[in-house]
């Protein structure tokens, strides 16, 4: 009680889940309507923080996917493909504003379905999703100025498959540029996180978007495969694992269909001895523990200059001690739940391999809830380039700490990976930032920050992290014929 107690534990401050109604049964969104699947099949999506079922969701079969692609084709040829850019812009602005108006609903639903802390869905996912629609709405009537010729044309029907780590945000990244450019879309959200994409479909209805311009087909891998290999699709955009990306590329080879892939990563976050230490520690935490590390551009390899390794690790450990793990709907939660049991197993397995290979494992003392999928924030020190945890994407709250002696060695180690999505550089020396950035084999290089996104800034990778860019002028290129 008040008085001389020296503790200041934050009492639970949960966001109420009453703000959003989750329909017990959800259909597919095709041609502007929610419809029963022809396949007759459905699956259940869980709340990963409790393992309780949230809703039953339709599973689209090949027939359903075909129906959706046809609806998109009809909308493209009938309305959207010939509509003036300034008219398309109005719809995009409208969608953006409705996302803002219903932001609490989106945030709560995202946290329920994905397990991410409400602080992140509220402050990052939802505002950024709206920002992407606003940004691309601005482009819709200015495509002739995107550097792709005087009157670039849309490609047609886009088949878009998105992952479970940022369900709404990835949907926005895919839909907004495609729609701005005049394409129609069939979107397949991940099977563990379909709910915000369905809410976004409802927003499209509310915005009176012409039927068929956006279609949402829910399902797992088979649904995705049916979509990306459908001959009626002109353009495939995929965000997900490198393994699946490779299969898609093989399947599309020689078909003449357009493809962009945004795949895995194993980003190096490079800390020099003159880095602003406290903000660097924040950046490291944000780089690897944001969204429980389930981020393709996560700074999962920490490369620290040897002279400050001890200091950085010590400060990092102290900072990890203040992270609050628990109920994703609690506004004070920093670390939420892992999205699925499959993912949790993968993280657990790779962490064991780290120990087996001789790296030293550390986690702050923290109680994991009894139910749900949880993994404590974890640091491995004494990691070397040849360890699996330094090479494979863990996609979880696990940081591998490596060291370097000179800037050249940092570059060599950072680039010594099949991936090339993102990198971070921490130093007070501006010239070194530029020197490093020019040598990083990564699509995004952050300087003295990490995991910062903006719709105007193109995002995408090199090598096994994929190709094509999302966001900015460059992102439009993926949806336009010059």
């Amino acid at each position: 009680m008040p008085g001389d107690s020296r503790t200041f534990d934050y009492a639970p401050a949960p966001e109420s889940s009453d703000i959003v109604t989750v329909a017990p049964k959800n259909g597919l969104f095709i041609s502007g309507q929610f419809v029963e699947p022809k396949s007759g099949r459905s699956f259940v999506t869980l709340n990963p923080a409790t393992e309780e079922p949230l809703a039953e969701v339709a599973e689209a079969g090949e027939g359903d996917v075909d129906f959706a692609v046809q609806a998109a084709r009809a909308a493209f040829e009938g309305v959207w493909g010939r509509m003036k850019g300034r008219e398309r812009a109005k719809y995009l602005y409208r969608i953006a504003r409705i996302i803002q108006e219903r932001s609490r609903e989106f945030a709560v639903l995202e946290s329920l379905d994905n397990g991410k802390p409400i602080r992140e869905s509220r402050d990052v996912d939802v505002p950024l999703a709206a920002a992407h629609f606003f940004y691309h709405a601005g482009w819709a009537d200015k495509l002739g100025y995107a550097g792709l010729g005087p009157s670039p044309r849309p490609l047609g029907v886009a088949g878009q498959v998105i992952p479970w780590n940022f369900p709404l945000l990835m949907a926005a990244w895919k839909l907004a540029p495609a729609l701005a450019a005049g394409n129609c879309c069939v979107l397949k959200p991940a099977e563990t996180t379909p709910l915000t994409a369905l809410l976004l479909a409802e927003v499209c209805q509310q915005a009176e978007l012409p039927p068929g311009v956006v279609n949402v087909v829910t399902g797992a891998g088979a649904t995705g495969a049916a979509l990306v290999t459908h001959p009626g699709v002109d353009k495939v955009a995929f965000t997900g694992s490198t393994e699946v990306g490779k299969q898609i590329r093989i399947a599309l080879a020689g078909t003449g269909r357009h493809l962009t892939l945004e795949l895995g990563g194993k980003a190096a976050n490079i800390v020099f001895d003159d880095a602003p230490i406290d903000q660097t520690v924040e950046g490291i935490v944000n780089g690897i523990f944001f969204n429980q590390g389930q981020v393709c551009c996560a700074g999962s390899r920490l490369l620290v200059q040897e002279s400050v390794t001890e200091l950085v690790v010590e400060r990092l450990k102290r900072r990890l001690g203040t992270l609050q793990l628990g109920d994703p709907l609690d506004k004070n939660t920093d670390i939420g739940a892992i999205n699925s049991s499959v993912q949790l197993e993968k993280i657990t397995e790779l962490s064991h391999s780290g120990e087996d290979e001789g790296a030293e494992r550390w986690s702050p003392p923290c109680d994991l809830p009894e139910h749900g999928y949880w993994f404590p924030p974890t640091i491995f020190t004494g990691v070397s380039q040849s360890h699996r945890i330094a090479r494979e994407e863990i996609f979880g709250p696990v940081l591998s700490v490596l060291t370097f002696r000179t800037p050249a060695e940092a570059v060599a180690k950072a680039n010594n990976t099949p991936y090339g999505l993102s990198a971070g550089v921490w130093t007070e020396k501006g010239s070194r930032i530029l020197w490093m950035a020019g040598r990083m084999g990564a699509g995004v290089v952050w300087a003295n920050t990490f995991n910062r996104f903006d719709p105007a800034s193109p995002f995408g990778g090199y090598k096994e992290s994929g190709f094509g860019r999302e966001g900015g002028r460059h992102g439009l290129e993926a949806y336009l014929r010059a």
Partner: protein
Amino acid sequence: MLPGAVTAQVNGEIAATDTALRQLLHGLPGVDQVGTEARAASLATRSIKKDSKLWALDTAIRMIDLTTLEGADTPGKVQAMCAKAVRPDPTDSGVPSVAAVCVYPDLVGVARGSLDGSGVAVASVATAFPSGRASMKVKLADVREAIEGGADEVDMVIDRGAFLSGRYGQVFDEIRQVREACGRAHLKVILETGELVTLDNVARASWLAMTGGADFVKTSTGKVTPASTPAAALVMLASVRDFAEASGRQVGVKVAGGIRTAKDAIRYLVLVKETAGPEWLTPSLFRIGASSLLNDLLMQRSKQLTGAYAGPDYFTID
């Protein structure tokens, strides 16, 4: 990590020359402004409810240096404020007293007379507050007047002009001399972060004050805009934490200026907890210089206990 030089400095082994101090202060890790502000903003979203809120409100009251620093101050005004400081809410004896009252040196005697035996300390600003633009002789006379009047705590200002022109030795020297003149009184060193402008400067000035013997580092006089900002407070809290690690001595932090609502105060407590650590959550290591804040804390406290807000007339103005 903090250089061995720091510990040496703390123990007074190195001559306080501009060069030596420059080496120390400019050898501190840099502070990134964007990152610091982002961190402060993210801590401001912590949601403090129920028991933790009640605890925070009471703790904030106990941390207040109830302040009046106006040209129009009179013995009557100071006496009234002292009564409020001892018993902030006449209708509820459960409300703790504030930590101290803070006045100009000439009114220290009045405050002393009103507060004896109450447990509330008397703090006085000194050294040509708020600008610090006076000769050392005048500054020391100012301090002595406060001490002779019975001040338990002295809030001095540093010479920002000297600091900004790199005359660290002079600033250090002044702090040392004031420290001596204070005798057993606690010394709070006001950095005036609004005039130092960069966060690197805030960190350097904090270290300079701490090595000079400050018991507290304080953000601002309240006479300059911006006064206390969350980012500056965060840098100071990190500095006292690092200094304690290097030297073993815990220095307190006082934020002052523009903190008017319970919400702001609680946000500062969150900064304290998550930056310096929970052991700083005590009036002996964290203070809030304020005047109108107290009534908002009282109002929120009664709301928390009764579930309803009382109007402003149910709380005394001083």
